[in-house]
């Protein structure tokens, strides 16, 4: 099960901000700046970071919903970043996305059956006559009842709407799913149900997930590995349990320590990270985190750190991670 499904190499996604009179772009928003990572088949990779760090753009870039400036995206070993729309079409059903706000991502004028049929229509192997049966199967997968097919989205609660979105994403029998803040709009109790459903579906259908969220505490429940993003770059990737137990990057630790813990006896929580997120128009030189890092040295200001492998599939981009780790500055 260790084969690579998604292989990103030096991905850059820039958006033009300003153009000169000659139509040449003078300023870019560097939303994703040189990201290299692999997602294994059957894995759930978490992607965390503060708002504006480029995590959603990275998810959209993999699905070719955002333009790639340079770098390669391999899906199942095939390079897809340069394919034109027609050549890319066979890959679209294999990669699906579930968005944050389920209410906004379901057409209010369509019944659930129509919503699912739209997705089924792009699967060549499903005949029209099978739609009803397939739709019922999909509803069953997400624990909704067949009679729900004939209702409109507004008749469902937020959690149920998100189930419909998941059913629609599964309709094309995808191999890879991107969940972009898919549980952020839900209550804890409903969120727990959706997370359990996702973990269950992933095991049953051997799916590969990219789970984007700003909420660290839910990551460990469903993700195998977690990538931490800051100002357009991935700072650290580690196995989920290792990441929270012993973060290697100072930013990961800061992010983890800012989460309010639902335990009044642990009052040492909520350590404060000073400073603001840097502008993606003009990110800091060297390590992007250095202006806010209390361990930063002169080297951090000049030299951008390279990915340092900790073990297979786990790496960190920090000049001083070994020193910090040995001194126990990153553990509690």
């Amino acid at each position: 099960m260790s084969d690579v499904l998604i292989d990103l190499s030096h991905i850059k996604t820039y958006f033009p901000q300003k153009k000169t009179l000659m139509g040449k772009v003078s300023t870019w928003v560097r939303a994703v700046d040189d990201v290299t990572l692999k997602i294994l088949r059957g894995e759930c990779l978490g992607l965390v970071g503060e708002s504006g760090c480029g995590k959603s753009t990275l998810g959209r870039t993999i699905l070719r919903l955002a333009p790639v400036l340079s770098g390669t995206i391999r899906f199942n070993g095939v390079e897809i970043q340069h394919l034109d729309e027609k050549a890319f079409q066979p890959y679209r059903p294999k990669m699906q996305m579930v968005f944050q706000d389920p209410r906004a991502s379901l057409n209010p004028k369509m019944k659930v059956m129509q919503i699912l049929s739209e997705a089924l229509a792009i699967c060549a192997h499903v005949e029209k006559i099978q739609y009803a049966q397939r739709a019922t199967e999909l509803m069953d997968m997400v624990d909704l009842r067949p009679e729900h097919l004939f209702r409109y989205p507004h008749e469902f609660s937020g959690g149920q709407q998100q189930r419909i979105c998941i059913a629609r994403a599964l309709a094309t029998q995808p191999e890879f799913l991107v969940f972009d803040e898919a549980t952020s709009a839900l209550d804890v109790s409903v969120q727990a149900q959706i997370l359990n459903l996702m973990a269950d579906l992933q095991k049953r259908l051997n799916l590969t997930f990219l789970f984007i969220s700003h909420d660290l505490s839910i990551m460990e429940h469903i993700c195998h590995r977690v990538a931490v993003m800051y100002a357009g770059q991935v700072m650290e990737i580690q196995d989920a349990d290792a990441l929270f137990a012993s973060p290697r990057h100072p930013y990961t630790k800061a992010l983890r320590d800012a989460v309010p813990i639902a335990d009044p006896t642990q009052t040492d929580g909520m350590t404060i990270l000073e400073g603001e997120v840097p502008s993606l128009l003009d990110p800091p030189q060297g390590c992007r985190f250095h202006p806010r890092c209390k361990h930063a040295t002169g080297r951090c200001k000049q030299e951008s750190p390279k990915a340092d492998v900790i073990k297979l599939g786990n790496w960190v981009r920090c000049h001083h991670h070994l020193r910090l780790w040995k001194r126990g500055l990153l553990s509690d």
Partner: protein, 345 residues
């Protein structure tokens, strides 16, 4: 019996039997039913619950911020010896923003986009702090305008904002969410309110920014003795900064007690379910959740509103509404499990 502390302190705000219902096409929906709680000076009280349980309606009802056309309400909200529900809109206008201030979830959208932050802030300073402006004018021999600006800068610095000069010239869209929320807090504190209502004030912010804002609010309440009613769905926030927690379910407060009691000895089955559904760092087993759905408020279940989802339901739960029981000192619960005598058993 009131849900009150057995302390010598007198509450600054006490809500008694507050009920709110909305008329709708499907009949009237009882959004709030018999809400009772008290707020003491200098304390942070969390109001937690799921979406649609009535947390925000409770907060808004206190200041009558709900459109009046379709709502009916009853009960008593005692504040400084007056009942807020009895006040005329003119009298209530003197309370709003003055002695009871409120901050909202989305800071950027609650700032007027067509005026600079400075213009909006200086207007409020002239309104709330005319004496301070006058003394500053005399002391420093400056014009009123300069004095107002100086006060604005001081107040912004108090909430941890830097580059206040530039900030006062900016518009709402030019600043980040964290800065906007700090600015709103600075505005809310201008009138030195006795009560600050924070309605999901940090839900739209990143965890790192949220940590800043929470610490700031906690400090403000400790330093100035402002009582804070913190409405949130995040139990982590309640655990970290609140002194007491009130848990709401379907328009009623089901449990209220000190933060330690609520988290370590939760009594109500709903509170327990809610606590189990919280994802925790360093714990990997599947999340547990309260099965079933929140009830339809137009047609709520009889008796205890939680009984269709409760694991401990008895016959009495579907018939009779549970009364408030003080299980321990200052720890109140409304659940039949804790009744001394059960009517039909």
């Amino acid at each position: 019996m009131h849900m009150s502390h057995k302390t010598h302190q007198t509450p600054i705000l006490s809500v008694e039997d507050l009920s709110v219902s909305f008329g709708g096409s499907r009949g009237s929906a009882k959004i709030l039913e018999g809400i009772e709680f008290e707020l003491y000076p200098g304390e942070v009280l969390a109001l937690v619950g799921e979406t649609g349980c009535g947390k925000s309606v409770t907060a808004k009802s206190l200041l009558d911020l709900i459109p009046q056309l379709s709502r009916n309400r009853s009960g008593r909200v005692a504040f400084n010896g007056r009942d807020l529900l009895d006040l005329s809109s003119r009298e209530l206008g003197k309370v709003r923003g003055h002695s009871i201030a409120m901050i909202f979830q989305n800071p950027q959208s609650s700032i007027n986009p067509v005026f600079t932050l400075g213009e909006q802030m200086c207007r409020l300073i002239r309104m709330y702090l005319p004496d301070e402006i006058k003394t500053l004018c005399k002391q420093k021999m400056v014009k009123e305008k300069a004095a107002t600006k100086q006060i604005a800068q001081e107040k912004l610095a108090e909430v941890g904002l830097t580059e206040t000069d530039r900030l006062l010239k900016s518009y709402a869209h030019e600043i980040s969410g964290g800065m906007a929320q700090r600015y709103k807090i600075a505005l809310a504190l201008l009138s030195s309110p006795e009560i600050l209502i924070a309605d999901e004030a940090t839900s739209a912010l990143d965890v790192t920014v949220q940590a800043h804002i929470l610490r700031l609010l906690k400090e403000m309440s400790q330093k100035k003795g402002t009582a804070i009613l913190f409405i949130t769905h995040d139990l982590g926030i309640a655990a970290q900064i609140c002194d007491r927690v009130a848990v709401m379910y379907s328009g009623r407060i089901v449990e209220i007690g000190s933060t330690l009691d609520i988290f370590q000895k939760p009594l109500h089955p709903y509170t327990r379910g809610l606590l189990e559904a919280v994802p925790k760092l360093g714990r990997k087993e599947p999340l547990r959740f309260v099965s079933g759905m929140i009830p339809d408020l137009a047609n709520p279940p009889d008796g205890c509103r939680f009984h269709p989802r409760c694991d401990h339901t008895r016959a009495v739960c579907s018939k009779q509404r549970p009364i408030i029981i003080e299980k321990e000192d200052g720890h109140f619960v409304t659940c039949h499990l804790y009744s001394a005598t059960l009517p039909d058993e």
